[in-house]
């Protein structure tokens, strides 16, 4: 019984310990599925874990499949940034592939829309 308790406690403490987990997308700006007025200057993605930024990428594609923008370095290891050119009104697809600091890989995609700038 004592051994079982110690094992349970060890699991609990391990679960409370430092970050050893898959990274998932916590939120983004522009937000997932959002429609923004005017072209955003950049796209930022916030992840749940610190990333191995040398092994983590984010890309933005327009409706014809053309890649837009260039990935920037970020001081925050949980954030990926891509600087964007002026985007025409339309829908854009974001594809991210990341590797968390402990080596777990994950990936995802989402869309956002650019609306004409309001006058």
């Amino acid at each position: 019984m004592k051994e079982i308790r110690l094992f349970l406690l060890a699991l609990g403490l391990a679960a409370a310990g430092p970050t050893f987990a898959h990274a998932y997308l916590d939120h983004a700006s522009p937000a997932v599925g959002a429609s923004v007025q005017g072209s955003p200057k950049e796209l930022q993605l916030w992840f749940s874990e610190a990333l191995d930024t040398t092994q983590s990428t984010v890309e933005v594609f327009d409706q014809s499949g053309k890649g837009m923008g260039r990935q920037q370095t970020s001081n925050d290891p949980t954030v990926l940034i891509i600087a964007l050119p002026t985007l025409s009104p339309g829908r854009y697809r974001v594809v991210w592939r990341v590797r968390s600091a402990d080596g777990h890989r994950s990936k995802g995609r989402f869309r956002f829309s650019v609306l004409p700038q309001s006058k």
């Binding site: 609990g12 679960a15 970050t19 050893f20 987990a21 998932y24 983004a28 937000a31 777990h104 995609r109």
Partner: protein, 302 residues
């Protein structure tokens, strides 16, 4: 409760609470889709994981041998990947049966050993499929709680499918996923019938909604919740047969950094499946996230 028990419970609870607020994904991925571990239906993937514990309580109907009563269980399961696609599992269940008007009986059910091979995964289609074999080892449990003296072997097919590949005009359905299993339980005793055993789950992933479809602004703890309905059915198919029994289990899962919580109601499908509403709850650990360099990785291969 003894002082040592209180101290242990306090430390354990504190550790889990510390783990809970920070969230991340564990295992069971097909592309962008995360399939959580489900409580009543076997998972379609192989993983390094431990359910510690799963507890349940429900009223069971009368049988030829016993009056109706309440059955409560507490089980521990551990699954370990041998290779990235092949894993073994071991489960131990403590049972308490309390027939109406009689005293409670306590003891262990038969030990369950399992093997599973994941033969298909499609990231684009968010699909996973596995085949497995479960062996309920006869004679290893206590007869006073109904553990069988004979073994039962159940070959089964497991599947999981996310709806993330639906077209854009159906994007509201993309957070849905289904998983299921179908198998035949074959007892070694000629007196017991073979039983068709099926399980099915319908899940709606809020994490998927917010990271792949539309961020609706839900934050902790709701942003890690996965509402779910599980349906289990068993149908004897020979040797005199018997009624179809099963349960419908609506509930919710919460996937954290390295652990998962689950709570479901157990609603009997018919009078032969029980009466009243029971419950099942689970604390589940992702060993691949807890111990990525040791226990949480396949023994062979990457």
């Amino acid at each position: 409760m003894a002082t040592s028990n209180k101290i242990f419970l306090g430390l354990y609870t504190a550790a889990l609470c510390a783990a809970a607020p920070v969230s991340a994904l564990g295992h069971g991925f097909a592309g962008q889709r995360f399939f959580p571990a489900t409580l009543a239906t076997d998972d379609p993937f192989v993983a390094d994981e431990s359910s510690l514990p799963t507890v349940s309580s429900r009223r069971v109907p009368a049988s030829d041998e016993e009056p109706a009563g309440r059955e409560s269980t507490a089980s521990v399961e551990i699954a370990k990947r041998i290779t990235p696609r092949f894993g073994l599992g071991l489960g131990v269940t403590g049972l308490q049966t309390k027939p109406d008007g009689e005293s409670a009986q306590r003891g262990f059910d038969n030990i369950a050993v399992s093997a599973k091979y994941q033969f298909h995964e499609s990231d684009e289609r968010e699909a996973i499929a596995s085949v497995g074999l479960d062996w309920d080892v006869g004679g290893t449990g206590a007869k006073r709680v109904g553990a069988e003296s004979f073994s039962t072997v159940t070959p089964a097919l497991f599947f999981g499918k996310g709806l993330g590949d639906l077209p854009e005009n159906l994007s509201g359905l993309r957070p849905f996923a289904v998983t299921g299993s179908i198998g035949v339980a074959m007892p070694s005793s000629s007196a017991a019938p073979n039983v068709l055993a099926t399980g099915f789950t319908l899940q709606y992933s809020i994490p998927y909604l917010q990271s792949a479809v539309k961020d609706v602004g839900l934050r902790a703890p709701f942003n890690r919740m996965i509402p779910i309905i599980e349906i289990t059915m068993e149908k004897p198919i020979d040797r005199g047969g018997g009624p179809t029994t099963g349960t419908v289990n609506p509930g919710v899962l919460w996937a954290g950094r390295s652990m998962q919580l689950g709570l479901e109601a157990i609603v009997p499908m018919n009078s032969r499946s029980g009466s009243g509403v029971g419950f099942i709850a689970q604390l589940h650990f992702y060993l691949d996230d807890l111990f990525p360099q040791s226990l949480g990785r396949p023994i062979y291969g990457q």
